[in-house]
Amino acid sequence: MVSVADEHETGTVFSARADARARGGKVADAMPYVPASSTPFPPPGVAPEALTWAETVAGGGYTHKVVARGTRVRLADVTGEACAHVLVYNAMEPWERLNVADTVKIPWQAYLGAGHPLLSGDGRVLATVTADDTGRHDALCGTSTAKANRARYGDSAPQGPSPSGRELFTLAAAKHGLAPRDLPPSVSFFQGVLVGADGGLTFAGSAGPGKSVELLAELPLIILIANVPHPADPRPRYTCGPLRVHAWRARPTSPADPRWAATPEANRYYLNTADYAAARGI
């Protein structure tokens, strides 16, 4: 049997260097596309040269990025099995971050969909869900923990076959100087949960392959994404498909957009956010 080591000539620094360099230019199923314009999967209607982030994240994988105010981030569920757990932070003051309670309370709506804000606890909107063709998302159940995944799948470690969302978030956060205390409850996209009359939860799952949601960064954001099974997903096998992430420069919500004043609450969170941005000079 041929081992992997047998395929490489790495006995000297010169041969090791040549061997390492021979790996460049290969393509994997899950990888970032750099520059972003080189993505094989540009979103329809977006000029590839406008892209600032292009990546495929494997099931069980994670990614993170700092994006400018006015960036549109499109998440696409290739197979209908992705579950994009998302945390967003004000990149300038990261203690301002996603607050799931305000995110459902202020719009008077538990279910995320087009037009829904991702609010901080500071009276501002960090991102707006600007497009959604699934209606299957969740702001109640958060992501998975080591304890849950060990009990459920036997392992939770990032290097294992069934990573937990919290452990992946811990790594993604650390790359921006953030610690576990900087990980509040998250939202997730592409796997829905419904609340019954008695408060009981029903897992509604996915709306199928090829669906997408779009987020608009209303402030400069640190975005953390963990693509792992939803904690209420009843399937015994760790099931999670690839997630496509594409982002491009656009403009934040302004008075020209109908959503700016769609509700009294929306009007005030856009006003507060614009007020903050103006004072910061961004």
């Binding site: 305000d102 538990a110 609010l119 606890g121 576990p180 205390r181 409850p185 609340v195």
Partner: protein, 244 residues
């Protein structure tokens, strides 16, 4: 001088003059104040009345029980829990909901941490359901909900920040919370909101600490929604020693 006692002859501690704090004339007309006792047997280790609008905190040792009394009826007690040994491990709304399979908190609900570990278990509850999805009010979120003219009003986020600071914590340590005695129904289409309460004078909830926990409470000062019936009233906090 009059001394205020409960039915068992006990006088709770209070940072303000208890006679004033329990004087019905301090509150909306018709307010009844009921100083109910603990929901668990055992020696009383701590017994305090939290004045309207004030924060409160205490460490509750593993096995001990905290009873919270809704003295004046429908007074939201916004509540956060932390592992006393490592406050990076703290109450988690989503873990509590996902493990329990229900958005409402009732007797038997395990209040879980962000690591999925039990921080406390609700062992007795005199209200049909307790809230954990409505979050906390605050000066900034009040501007979204009610208008910028409410920005000067004190909120639970401010109470939490003030109390957290005493333990070396700050904004990074505030997460979504429990709201004892607050009523947040979720309609079939996902519409949710704070509506009239379903508690009453002297109704109680009690939870047993499953590890040593730091409990932060904001006695909600909100005056723009029915989370405290537009009438902030006191809470009573009683810690009883668990069975050995």
């Amino acid at each position: 001088m009059t001394v205020v006692t409960d039915a068992a002859g006990r006088t709770p501690a209070c940072p303000l003059d208890l006679r004033l704090v329990l004087d019905p004339d301090q509150y909306a007309a018709g307010t009844a104040l009921v100083l109910a006792g603990p929901l668990a047997d055992g020696d009383v280790l701590l017994d305090e009345v939290v004045p309207a609008r004030a924060p409160w905190s205490a460490v509750v040792a593993a096995g001990d029980v905290l009873t919270i009394v809704d003295v004046g009826a429908n007074q939201s007690a916004d509540c956060l829990l932390y592992s006393a040994d490592d406050t990076a491990e703290r109450y988690s709304v989503p873990d509590t909901i996902a493990w329990g399979g229900n958005v409402y908190v009732r007797t038997g609900t395990v209040l879980r941490s962000n690591e999925g570990n039990p921080l406390a278990t609700v062992i007795a509850n005199e209200v049909d359901r307790q809230d954990t999805i409505g979050g906390a009010c605050g000066k900034e979120s009040n501007t979204l909900r009610y208008g910028h003219h409410t920005a000067a009003e004190h909120g639970c986020r401010e109470n939490f920040l003030a109390q957290a600071a005493a333990y070396g914590m700050g904004a990074r340590d505030l997460v979504s919370n429990l709201n004892w005695f607050m009523n947040v129904p979720v309609e079939a289409d996902g519409t949710l909101g704070i509506v009239d309460g379903i508690s009453g004078p002297g109704k109680r909830v009690a939870f047993r600490a499953e590890m040593d926990i730091l409990v932060l409470v904001s006695n909600c000062p909100q005056m723009n929604n029915p989370c405290n019936d537009f009438n902030p009233t006191p809470l009573r906090m009683i810690v009883t020693e668990g069975a050995a």
